[in-house]
């Protein structure tokens, strides 16, 4: 079974308690429609499992098929530098259908982040190394597309619908 090569750490973006009995890691791409479908499913899982589940999101932009995946990932990392990662992450998925350069600026404004600073960060590729590090770590872990989930460090090869993920998480919580 394929295992997470890069252990979860304080560098990760996390929702929930680090000592939760189950940690769900998603490698995702903001322009990937499948990740867009998985977004509300993860929200439901978090509601369903409450404090027993912590959730980590790592970047895995498929830049050759999704031209906005990389700038979107860098925008989320830019927001993270201002402690607004999750707000940006959620807004990106909630507005995935109209993802483009203008949307990135609009979302930055919505979160009271300076658009000029965002544009400069994108221009200078300030957050590209962070995104690349997530990506290469994902490749080493056997991420094979997006979204790829790891449940307590093991790749989840089954479907990512709500019932399948609940079943897989229940198994590690038993």
């Amino acid at each position: 079974m394929t295992k997470l090569a890069v252990a979860v750490s304080a560098k990760d973006h996390r929702q929930g308690d680090k000592d939760a009995p189950c940690t769900l890691v998603e490698y995702g791409d903001y322009q990937c429609p499948s990740c867009g479908q998985a977004y509300p499913i993860v929200k439901r899982l978090q509601k369903h499992f409450g404090k027993r589940l912590s959730f980590i999101f790592r970047n895995f932009p498929l830049t050759q098929i999704h031209p906005y995946a990389e700038p979107a990932a860098e925008t989320a990392e830019f927001a993270a530098a201002h402690e607004k990662f999750w707000q940006m992450h959620d807004l990106l998925y909630e507005n995935q259908g109209r993802l483009d350069d203008e949307l990135l600026v609009e979302l930055a404004q919505a979160l009271q982040l300076a658009p000029a600073q965002l544009l400069q960060a994108l221009e200078t590729k300030e957050f590209q190394p962070r995104v690349r590090a997530d990506f290469t770590g994902g490749v080493r872990s056997g991420v094979n597309g997006t979204p790829t989930f790891f449940i307590n460090g093991q790749r989840h090869d089954g479907s990512y619908d709500f019932a399948s993920l609940v079943e897989a998480i229940d198994l590690v919580l038993e």
Binding site: T2, V139, R140, N144
Partner: protein
């Protein structure tokens, strides 16, 4: 189906079309490592797509000087359209006529379905297979195994 060729076996040579005007010949790539990625078909769903993943990981493969070739039984015109649509930066070889002959030679053809397995081979600079892996047909094998095999060369 015969068994998948394992490490130590000489990689069967081939000369296959990668588009309607161009062929690729394995033996002409001697001197550098080659990754062969057999896959069932072009046009499988985009996001979980194995070739799209390898396209992204290509710079990592190139750090080892390795050439990547995708192979399926799809024809050269189909490959050309698929590669263009997916913006692929590596060749796709058409194991089209006689259909699946190269997949058979590597022991990765599925007679019943008429396409090849999702199978990976890493071939060293002398044309010898150093690693092979056959994935369950519905599971994209990712790129971690390939990178480990390249590191071991």
């Amino acid at each position: 189906m015969s068994a998948i060729l394992n490490a130590g076996a000489k990689a069967p040579d081939f000369s296959l079309s990668v588009n309607p005007d161009k062929k690729i010949t394995l033996s002409e790539l001697r001197g550098k490592p080659v990754i062969l990625a057999f896959y069932p078909a072009d046009w499988s769903p985009v996001c979980g797509d194995q070739m799209a993943l390898y396209n992204e990981v290509l710079p990592e493969f190139q750090k080892f000087g390795a050439e990547l070739i995708g192979i399926s039984v799809d024809g050269a015109w189909c490959h050309a359209a698929y590669a263009k649509d997916h913006n692929l930066h590596f060749p796709l070889a058409a194991d089209f006529e006689p259909k699946g002959a190269i997949a058979r030679a590597y022991g990765v053809y599925r007679d019943k379905e008429g396409f090849c397995e999702r199978a990976l081979f890493v071939i060293d600079k002398n044309g010898v297979i150093t690693w092979s892996y056959c994935s369950p047909i519905l599971v994209n094998p990712g790129a971690d195994g390939i990178l480990q095999a390249l590191e071991a060369l």
